[in-house]
Symmetry: C2
Subunit: 207 residues, 2 copies
DNA sequence: CCATGTGAACGCTTTCACAGCT
DNA sequence: AGCTGTGAAAGCGTTCACATGG
């Protein structure tokens, strides 16, 4: 092993999840077999992932040291700085996210919320300032916001997304039902509940 | 082509998304190039996916008929019956989902909510009945609930998940941060916002 | 000419098998 | 023996190239 320029996407996704598992792991050491049991991933896959990390984890015959593993993962896959976020669209779902405790310990901090509906902006109680959507450009710059959570009505998703992209945001978590398009420089994760429901439906299961 | 027993998972995921796109498509016909533009998937991939569907879509040189395509997809990938769901965990996030309009037109219907906190069960306003978590077994049976949306606190996720599995539920959409384990017969989709945020973070982007 | 249908080629992911260390 | 580290092999998913039909 030596100079992996960049981790494969599949591995990255697993390592992000694994970090959550490690944070809650009660013991000092963990083996690939234990991780396998907890996640469902094959133990060989986990070892292979670790190998791709490049770093020597010196886990031989003892399992891995949770401490070491955590810090290697953080270094390799996360940006450990606190990352500023905003919530765009304060309908029922968006408003429910106006609660820093959801994000505690995650490395993400919600700084502000936006909504095009001025009434909502004024009426909603929140521990962060709320602004009209038109203020996005300057607020996002001033507050150094890097990521956005998009929870506007489906029909506005692409339009608002385009405006977000213009502000120079780095990534968007899309909670709407529609697929949004961004330039390659802005990464998107779509997490629509409806979509997820459709994916757990198993065609086989007819009565 | 002939007897594909079952669609590859990757194709299935795309087809579920595509169905959303088709529902909002303004014209009678659609080409693979148009789908590509709207979704970002390669046009050849889309044609290949359709080929895997087995059915003859006779789109040659004209693009596909949205109508036909939709019904083939529905037949192949969805269960078109209305599917009953419940929300388990009525904290800020779960409570925000107590709103059928979020699910309108999706084929899913929220029937009931559950929470272990009796106070919440009594105090929350909702268009569906709310029950204490202990009532899950009989309510889920009686209401013929097939799928659950899990939005309990992270620390209770696995415990409540196990209880859900026991009721005979078919699939779970997991909104908590932790990975939950189920027997292979119960499908899970994890859609954690924190996880999604971590995935849009691009390590490259250091100042 | 246009857009699809098709299968081969390519590349990424996972699994396997086993050497090596404790 | 137990568990990791490593590379080869197998398995999937995506892209390509092009024949085919309107």
């Amino acid at each position: 092993m030596s100079t992996t320029v960049c981790l494969p996407e599949a591995t990255r996704k697993r390592m992000v999840q694994l970090l959550q598992l490690l944070k809650a792991w009660p013991e000092k050491k963990i083996t690939s077999a234990q991780i396998s049991k907890a996640t469902g991933w094959k133990d060989s896959l986990i070892r292979h992932d670790f190998w791709l990390l490049g770093k020597n984890l010196d886990g031989v015959s003892n399992g891995y040291c949770v401490q070491t593993l955590t810090s290697v993962l953080e270094e390799k896959i996360c940006d450990t700085r606190t990352k500023n976020c905003c919530i765009v669209g304060l309908g029922r779902l968006g408003a429910a996210l106006l609660d820093q405790s959801i994000f505690d310990g995650s490395g993400f901090e919600i700084k502000v919320g936006f909504d095009s509906n001025l009434y909502r902006v004024e009426i909603l109680r929140s521990s962060f300032p709320l602004y009209p959507a038109d203020d996005m450009p300057w607020v996002i710059k001033q507050e150094k916001i890097e990521y956005a959570i998009l929870s506007v009505p489906d029909k506005d998703a692409q339009k608002i997304c385009d405006r977000l992209v213009k502000t120079g945001i780095k990534g968007i978590v899309n909670l709407t039902r529609v697929l949004i398009k961004t330039p390659p420089s802005v990464k998107v994760e779509n997490i629509s509940i409806i979509n997820a429901l459709n994916l757990v439906v198993r065609k086989e299961s007819f009565d």
